[in-house]
């Protein structure tokens, strides 16, 4: 999100971003989980779990909106002012691999959570609207909490010994 846009964003506009950020993060985790399922990779479960968390946060953001009494504006996907090509908590599709292990999956998620944290922090730092600053700060703190959690999990899932991405079977021609 360009700082200018967010500096001037209303609470409703900010919450619309927050809701979509979490919603898209959840959908991305689902998408990754589906993909891993297709390739029989156990990290599927991990991505499902992440999707669940993101959905919880989305509901939370929706709850805030209700509490604020705000009707969230409907934006078209490209009308959101994200600082990156996608909403910041969407795990990068390009960084996945069908043989990825739990460590790599968690690293991927960690990057996403940190991006989300950075996003909220930036809004918290630059918004002209006090309420927005306050909400963004809270959200940033939550994201930081997630990131810490992921960091902890990562220690429990060290990189697998055998270079996991060393593909033993050549790709095949299906047509």
């Amino acid at each position: 999100m360009s700082p200018e846009v967010h500096a001037g964003a209303s609470v409703a506009l900010f919450l619309a971003h927050a809701v979509t950020l979490e919603e898209e993060a959840a959908e991305r985790y689902d998408e990754l989980a589906d993909t891993m399922a297709v390739h029989h990779n156990d990290v599927e479960a991990l991505f499902r779990r992440m999707a669940g968390y993101s959905r919880l946060h989305r509901d939370e953001a929706l709850g805030r909106a209700q509490a604020e009494g705000d009707v969230l504006p409907t934006l078209r996907p490209w009308e959101f002012a994200w600082p990156s090509p996608e909403s910041p908590e969407s795990a990068a599709l390009a960084d996945t691999h069908y043989l990825m292990d739990a460590h790599q999956a968690l690293s991927l998620a960690l990057t996403a959570e940190r991006q989300a944290q950075a996003f909220y922090q930036q809004v918290a730092d630059t918004s002209h609207d006090a309420r927005v600053r306050e909400l963004a700060g809270e959200f940033a703190e939550e994201e930081a909490e997630h990131a810490r959690l992921l960091e902890e999990w990562l220690t429990r899932h060290p990189p697998s010994a055998a270079a996991a991405l060393d593909d033993l079977d050549p790709p095949v021609a299906v047509d």
């Binding site: 297709v38 390739h39 029989h40 990779n41 069908y98 043989l99 010994a161 055998a162 593909d167 033993l168 079977d169 050549p170 790709p171 095949v172 021609a173 299906v174 047509d175």
Partner: protein, 587 residues
């Protein structure tokens, strides 16, 4: 009947199932065994699920068996997909890694002999170890392959990855073998003595798939030009040729589509350079119009069509024999051409070579009908007993007194074959044409020219002496099977088993599919009282083709079923017994 041992290694793609399977087959070759390996996988380009399907024996074997004796599962990812490709023998042994969950019902229901080996855990104990190498050691041991052969092969294959890799792999093989030994009671009966194989002969044997064999046969017969567009399951023919043609002065062009590739071949062949393209059903469909041109303009060329499940895009990775109709009858107008098919994987090389010689001798397109089962199954086979045939074209030689315009490219000759010039030959200029033409190649709409050229083109095919390669006949029973292509080996094994049951069945496998060698076929059928037509199709295309041209014994039973599952000897044997029972009732 060939005593043999069938085994499958399955797991998620990337687990190294295919690598393990291939090394196992190679090791079997080094150990003097025969065998074959097919692959099966899911729709994913990479990953997904994979199965290496092997059969090992002491005598040449090219048919899959009815059931598998051993299943080694690295994990259970989507095993349901393979369930019907993996029929297990009642006493089959299933080796599973307990780390990957319970044995799925679809497997457990088939056999009671399950043993658990922690493949992943064993591999983890070895630095750089991999579960698939543990599985390889274990499987080889259960299959009765000498450890030395496996080790030799693995050392060789991993050499370029450095000594650490090799050491780790060897350790894995050992761990696997020990795990197998730990289940000594589960060790399966294997045929043959590990030490009997004559190592010299064994090392001369070929380990290759039908696609490579096809490429080799074509090149050996003289093909020096290939233009093609990739398509599964034919691409390996092209890849093989792409790597080798330059070394014999030839060229391969990757074309923009099949319309281009067939026409580039026509151009090269018109230029005197024997040409081949390889494709599968969808690509063959696109070549149809230009094949008609090659017929009319009398241009020699070979299309190797590797059949897959149809219609339309169908199932590209599975086998069927359902492009027979289009290959034989697919051209518009009256367009006689030649269709041949190898009767097995090893036969792909001589039959491809034959196809090239026929094309060149008859100046006509030849369609070589291979299929996914032949093309992509790797086998250990004896090299061809005789040298492959080499192509020869009847070339134009100007008479010393001929005026420059005397050359009649499409002159009527007794055998219908007219001497052919090609650019560069002075006095041989003519215009090759797809329009009805005179003997000089000038367009004509007159009846005498039309009929004259139609007659000539039919004559050259009908009068040609196709020699002994038209087909194979085995046995002399009063019951006969007529079959072709990849159905041959399963059918032949069914006949062998029937013989073991005391039922003598004659096997007739055609290599020449069109023009149908009616006289040879009817001679081969002499004394046959009942007949069965065996093919891998839904509606019996081969049966209809035979009916259209030949007198078949009555009764003749049409036995066929479509892909994707391969034909197995047992089902053919069952149909044979059915036919025999009918015969007895009738008698």
């Amino acid at each position: 009947m060939t005593p043999s041992f069938s085994l499958a290694v399955t797991g998620s793609g990337g687990a190294g199932v295919m690598t393990a399977g291939q090394l196992l087959l190679d090791a079997a070759a080094l150990a003097g065994r025969y065998g074959l390996m097919a692959r099966s996988f899911g729709p994913q380009i990479r990953g997904g699920e994979a199965a290496a399907l092997l059969r090992l024996a002491d005598r040449p074997v090219e048919s899959p068996d009815d059931r598998y004796d051993l299943l080694v599962a690295l994990d259970w990812g989507n095993i349901e997909r393979f369930a019907d490709e993996l029929p297990l023998a009642a006493d089959a042994l299933v080796v599973a890694d307990p780390g990957h969950g319970a044995v799925p019902a679809v497997i457990a229901a088939q056999t009671g002999r399950l043993i658990e080996v922690p493949l992943t855990a064993l591999a983890r104990e070895i630095p750089g170890g991999r579960p698939n190498m543990v599985a390889l050691g274990l499987t080889a041991c259960l299959a009765g392959l000498p450890a030395a052969a496996v080790e030799t092969r693995v050392r060789r294959a991993l050499a370029r990855h450095g000594t650490d890799s090799v050491t780790a792999a060897i350790a894995c093989l050992d761990a696997g073998r020990q795990a197998a030994a730990a289940h000594r009671r589960a060790r399966l009966p294997v045929s043959g003595d590990e030490s009997t194989a004559d190592p010299t002969t064994a090392l001369d044997r070929w380990v290759l798939n039908g696609n490579e064999a096809t490429g080799f046969g074509a090149l050996a017969a003289g093909v020096r030009f290939c233009a093609a567009y990739p398509i599964t399951p034919a691409t390996e023919i092209l890849e093989w040729l792409a790597g080798r043609l330059p070394s014999v002065g030839g060229r391969l062009v990757q074309a923009e589509d099949e319309l281009a590739s067939i026409n580039m071949c026509i151009g090269a062949a018109y230029g005197g350079v024997p040409a081949l393209t390889a494709t599968s059903g969808p690509g063959l469909s696109l070549m149809i119009e230009s094949l008609g041109l090659a017929v009319a303009a009398e241009i020699p060329l070979v299309v190797a069509n590797v059949m897959r499940g149809g219609p339309s895009t169908g199932i590209p990775t599975k086998s069927e024999q359902t492009d027979l109709n289009i290959a034989v009858y697919g051209l518009h107008g009256e367009a006689p051409h030649v269709v041949v098919a190898p009767t097995g994987i090893a036969d792909c090389a001589p039959t491809a070579a034959w196809a090239v010689t026929l094309a060149e001798a008859l100046q006509t397109p030849v369609i070589l009908l291979s299929d996914q089962a032949l093309g992509q199954t790797r086998t250990i086979a004896d090299p061809p007993a005789t040298a492959l045939p080499a192509a020869r074209r009847t070339a134009f030689v100007p008479g010393p007194t001929d005026p420059p315009t005397a050359y009649r490219r499409y002159a009527h000759t007794p055998d219908g074959v007219s001497p052919m010039s090609c650019p560069g030959m002075p006095g041989g200029q003519y215009t090759a044409d797809g329009l009805t033409h005179t003997t000089s190649g000038v367009p004509s709409t007159r009846a005498e020219d039309h009929v004259g050229q139609l007659d000539k083109r039919r004559r050259k095919l009908e009068h040609h002496d196709y020699g002994a390669r038209w087909g194979e006949v085995h046995g002399d029973g009063a019951l006969a099977i007529i079959t072709w292509g990849s159905a041959t080996h399963p059918a032949r094994e069914a006949c062998d088993r029937a013989a073991a049951d005391g039922l003598s069945v004659r096997l007739i496998a055609l290599r020449l599919l069109s023009p149908l060698p009616v006289a040879q076929l009817e001679a081969a059928l002499a004394g046959v009282r009942a007949c069965m037509i065996v093919e891998h199709s839904h509606t019996g295309q081969f049966y209809r083709h035979l009916r259209a041209w030949a007198e078949l014994p009555r009764p003749t039973l049409a036995w066929h079923r479509p892909g994707p599952l391969p034909l197995r000897p047992g089902e053919i044997l069952e149909a044979l017994h059915h036919l025999q029972a009918q015969q007895e009732v009738a008698a």
